[in-house]
Amino acid sequence: MKALAARRRHPLAGIVLLLLGLFVMGGAYAVAAPQQAAASTTASGDADRGEKLFQANCSTCHGPSGQGGSAGPSLVGVGAAATDFQVGSGRMPLEATAPQAPEKEVKFSEQDVADLSAYVATLGPGPAIPSEEILQVVEQDERLAEGNELFRVNCAMCHNVVGSGGALTRGKYAPALDGVSEKHIYEAMVSGPQSMPVFNDANITPEEKQSIISYLKYVEAQPSPGGLSLGSLGPVTEGLFAWVGLLGIIIACTVWLGAKSS
């Protein structure tokens, strides 16, 4: 302890402290970070129980019968898919007013989510929770290629070409798609959560949606042999790496070239 006290004014002490702090923060986050919920099987929901859950948890903003209010939109016609996506990914219930509802820890059990979805589906016709068959990831090359082409035309401008996400206007953003379950990707497409437009079955057929999901899962499974994918964000991170890393090496070489040998 005495040695530690003696060295506390060392010029490197600040840096050591900073690194230590970052390490502890990172470690604590890794332990405490919410884990991605595993893709769940579609449980059949009980609309009556869902209504009670809705009254207790959602009606403050969405109104006692889901008709909407000043704080939340009407849920008539959004369908089970929207509810399952919003509640099942933890976006709802909303934690605070923000430009966008972030994905967070899921507050309800699988059965609760299913019951809520069943109840909201009774408010008006809307997209249903997709079936298990359509969520199966396919592996044929032509389906993956089709998924890639559709993803590039319809999704990649916001979500990035390998689904790494990207920024929108005024604090909104398109989230990264890696680690998102097949069901939630499908439901997002049919329900159009928040800023995202709806891609109904006439626009992108269920089989085409399956191809898109399969493409995303294919890309997600690709290893990164270089070790650093730099977030797959393209020119921003790669440019930063080039400026900081490679220019650093060039400057070091220049300094060494100009220095006289000892």
Binding site: V153, C158, G192, S195, P197
Partner: protein, 356 residues
């Protein structure tokens, strides 16, 4: 005396001089201090240090050779198998091997020059720029003789015809520029939407079809909150289909009619709240496709120009200067969306002849 004290003392003297003479004590010109004393390197004086430097240079060249061998081995070990990961691995290890081999040749050569090659400073005096009088007189004589023998001063017809021939010589180069392609003409002001299409003996305007599939779009399929990426019917059959697509790409949305401000002269350009706008940014022509269905903002990914879809796609943020052109659409007998006419203004970025 420490460095700090020396500095303080020196500073004190400066103040005294400055205060007394107003800086006039400075000499008129400074003496040339000459080169600093030559400092010998370790390798110059110490035989073991020289031996060590020699070994280091050899080691650096050996590392380079190992890098070359590694690159050759890497070519056979990491084969591109058709998936991204193996292609990345192949280029990564090949590149690292080759980078090491070239980089360490350079490092070794520089280290060799810095430690072992002579490092004596040499002064090379600068010569006078002016030639000797004799050389100058000789040069004048050569020119004068040349003029006299060629007769270029006495025979102006030869001189003038030569100048004429030289002046004409670059002309074929200008004619060759013609091969850079036909002039754009009015192609920038027209898109495929303005060209009719023949189907079964019937000539009609082009339907709005989906990108990339090419299926026509029923008005009823465009639900609120949806966005469709649209190309003109028959785009794939056109001769320069990428060029045509770059001008004609359209974004289709359905809005609540009560949210929309329709500018004068554009009544009847939409179908039940379905609006079609050019997808090509008026700034530098990126595809503006980031549609936020709640705010109805359309964001360009290149420079963040933002357009308000509910208000004839006027610019609300960013470097774009003009709103996105609107495509007048209607619905045909079979319920498909179809263009009424071409865009009424050129799509895409400004250009000189556009005149705005």
């Amino acid at each position: 005396m420490t460095d700090l004290e020396k500095h303080a003392a020196g500073h004190g003297t400066d103040v005294a001089v400055g205060g007394g003479g107003g800086g006039t004590n400075l000499p008129d010109r400074f003496e040339n201090p000459g080169l600093p004393a030559h400092r010998h390197r370790m390798a110059d004086t110490d035989a073991t240090a020289a031996k060590r430097a020699e070994r280091q240079v050899v080691l650096l060249f050996i590392i380079s050779a190992l890098g070359t061998l590694f690159a050759i081995v890497a070519y056979f070990v990491w084969r591109p198998e058709g998936d991204f990961a193996s292609i990345q691995a192949s280029t990564l290890w090949l590149g690292i091997g080759m980078a090491v081999s070239l980089f360490f040749i350079g490092v070794g050569a520089v280290h060799w020059a810095k430690t072992l090659m002579p490092d004596a400073e040499v002064v090379e005096e600068r010569h006078l720029m002016r030639g000797s009088d004799q050389a100058r007189a000789d040069a004048v004589e050569i020119l004068r003789t040349g003029n006299e023998e060629s007769g270029i001063g006495r025979r102006p017809l030869i001189r003038n015809s030569l100048l004429g021939a030289l002046a004409l010589f670059p002309l074929p180069g200008l004619v060759l520029l013609r091969d850079l392609g036909p002039l754009p003409g009015d192609s920038l002001t027209h898109t495929l939407w303005g060209e009719e299409i023949a189907e079964g003996g019937e000539v009609r305007m082009r339907r709005l079809t989906q990108d990339p599939g090419g299926d026509p779009i029923l008005a009823a399929e465009v639900t609120q909150g949806s966005v469709f990426h649209v190309i003109p019917e028959g785009l794939r059959d056109s001769e320069h289909f990428l060029e045509e697509k770059a001008k004609a790409a359209v974004l289709l949305v359905r809005l609540d009619p009560k949210d929309v401000t329709v500018p004068e002269g554009r009544e009847g350009w939409s179908v039940d709240g379905i609006y079609a706008y050019s997808k090509i940014c008026t700034h530098v022509g990126c595809p503006v496709a980031l549609y936020e269905q709640q705010t109805h903002h359309l964001l360009c990914p290149c420079h963040q120009s933002t357009f308000d879809v509910t208000d004839h796609c006027k610019v609300i943020f960013g470097p774009a200067k003009r709103p996105l052109p609107q495509l007048p659409i209607t619905v045909d007998d079979e319920g498909y969306l179809v263009a009424q006419s071409d865009f009424t203004e050129p799509t895409g970025p400004s250009y000189f002849e556009r005149g705005e």
